[in-house]
């Protein structure tokens, strides 16, 4: 089998486009009311826990302030983002990508093993025999795929007044619409942080080969025991 399955590669690139458009249109939407609150309600400066900076045009979609247009971009790309994640999850269960590559083993959670993995990372040594991903990779991908990306979808849905009528438990789970909005903003930046780290590690581990493999699928790998 190839290093990256076709479904994984397709999702990877569709998801990248979606995340970038969602992030940049999201910054435009943030400019409409650059304050964050906790709980069900919040509108006044003195109730805000965070006053957000105004994001410049070069960082937003569209490249000028337009709440209405930014919402159109945001809601259009939310569809392939959410459906793509769902299909990727179903596909990765079916082709055993999750169970083979992402599930950690008990031995990997030993502190000595984690320390050794961190030390290897710091020496920029990315060779790891026996498994496709090392422990830190599994952890990072696992957190992104199973926690951060779903959180973006569900906190996004929880901000919709119609969805709150349809699924009241969803907004309650986050402690109110303004809490959901705050979490949406924080997780968006966590994902931006992941993207920067991810690109940095690709650059450090042979970017040409990594990019080629993520497009063509890469060389055939021996089946893992």
């Amino acid at each position: 089998m190839k290093r990256h399955a076709l479904g994984t590669r397709l999702w990877h690139w569709v998801n990248l486009i979606c995340l970038v458009v969602l992030f940049m249109s999201g910054l435009n939407i943030s400019n409409a009311h650059p304050r964050l609150y906790w709980g069900h309600w919040g509108f006044a400066p003195e109730d805000a826990w965070l006053h957000i900076t105004r994001f410049p045009g070069w960082a937003t979609i569209p490249g000028y302030y337009s709440l209405a247009s930014a919402r159109l971009w945001h809601f259009l790309f939310a569809w392939p983002f959410a459906i793509g994640l769902l299909l990727f999850m179903i596909g990765s269960l079916a082709n055993r990508h999750f169970s083979r590559d992402l599930v950690t083993r008990r031995s990997e959670w030993r502190w000595s093993a984690i320390k050794a993995d961190i030390a290897k990372h710091l020496k920029l040594d990315f060779e790891h025999a026996g498994s496709k991903f090392n422990f830190l990779q599994k952890l990072a991908y696992g957190v992104v795929i199973f926690i951060l990306l779903p959180l973006m979808i569900f906190t996004g849905l929880a901000m919709s007044p119609a969805m709150d009528a349809n699924w009241p438990w969803l907004v309650d789970m986050f402690g109110g619409r303004q809490s959901a909005r705050s979490i949406h903003f924080l997780v968006a930046w966590a994902l931006a942080g992941f993207l920067v780290l991810h690109i940095a590690l690709v650059l450090l581990s042979g970017p040409i080969g990594q990019l080629r493999d993520m497009i063509t699928g890469g060389a055939k790998m021996e089946d893992q025991p």
């Binding site: 069900h40 979609i61 490249g63 209405a68 159109l72 809601f75 569809w79 119609a162 969805m163």
Partner: protein, 247 residues
């Protein structure tokens, strides 16, 4: 510093490219179509069975209720009514109805009332919680008798924003929703001017710009095409604000 300017250059290219792309026909209609997908999904998930917006406890009411958009209309007619304490304010129910109505505030208050503590969500992102009181829109529409061709309910307002008359509209699903009321009270007091005195709509499952303030008329229509800019509302006619504002 150099890496930062490369990043800025990349995102600027993207944001500029997207702005240009949005001006092309296919992309702009694709961008607009997500509104129908969202409404279709919401219809299936609960809008059609009349799912209710969350109602809160008195303790949850926010200490003040922000006013937005028009907060102090200066139209001479409105100022005259405001000075007179809205004693002669009338609400017209017209359009595709069998019996057009013209109701005084006293007549509206004499109808069965609904009181609800709900969260108000602005398209900008903020929320406030208040207690609203007034008759259900469905009672008014039943009294006037809706004709068969009626598809939308248009709300006429006394205020102008940037020189144009404010108006809004909803479909019959929201018009006949039990929480859709013509509110005359906020938190036990007559509506303050900044929140739409003397009458405003509550469309609890949609964003704030649908909740028309300074309400003068309710009109049943078959199509929104011939009204003002043709997109069903003041903000919908300007820029790209969506007519279905459930998200």
């Amino acid at each position: 510093m150099k890496r930062r300017s490369v990043l800025a250059g990349l995102t600027a290219l993207l944001s500029g490219g997207c702005s240009k792309l949005a001006e092309t026909g296919p992309m702009s209609s694709l961008l607009a179509s997500a509104e129908d997908w969202n409404r279709g999904l919401h219809d299936l998930m609960g809008r059609e069975r009349g799912a209710l917006a969350r109602e809160f406890a008195p303790d949850d009411i926010s200490p003040t209720f922000r006013g937005n958009g028009s907060v102090d209309p200066q139209e001479p007619d409105y100022v005259r009514h405001a000075t007179a304490g809205f004693a002669d304010w009338r609400l017209a129910v017209t359009g595709l109805v069998t019996t057009p109505l013209s109701l005084s505030l006293a007549e509206l208050k004499a109808m069965p009332q609904r009181t609800q503590i709900t969260r108000h969500d602005c398209v900008e992102g903020w929320s406030a919680i208040g207690q609203w009181k007034g008759p259900q829109l469905s009672l008014l529409l039943e009294r006037a008798g809706l004709q068969e061709q009626a598809r939308f309910i248009v709300f006429r307002c006394a205020d102008k924003l940037g020189g144009s008359q404010y108006y809004e509209s909803v479909d019959l699903l929201d018009a006949f929703h039990p929480q859709t009321i013509v509110a005359h009270e906020l938190n036990g007091e007559p509506l303050p001017v900044k929140n739409g005195a003397p009458l405003r709509m509550r469309i609890e499952r949609q964003l704030g710009y649908k909740h028309a303030k300074y309400l003068t008329g309710i009109e049943a229509v078959a199509s929104l095409d011939d009204i003002a800019g043709g997109k069903g509302g003041y903000w919908e006619d300007r820029g790209n604000y969506q007519w279905y504002a459930g998200i």
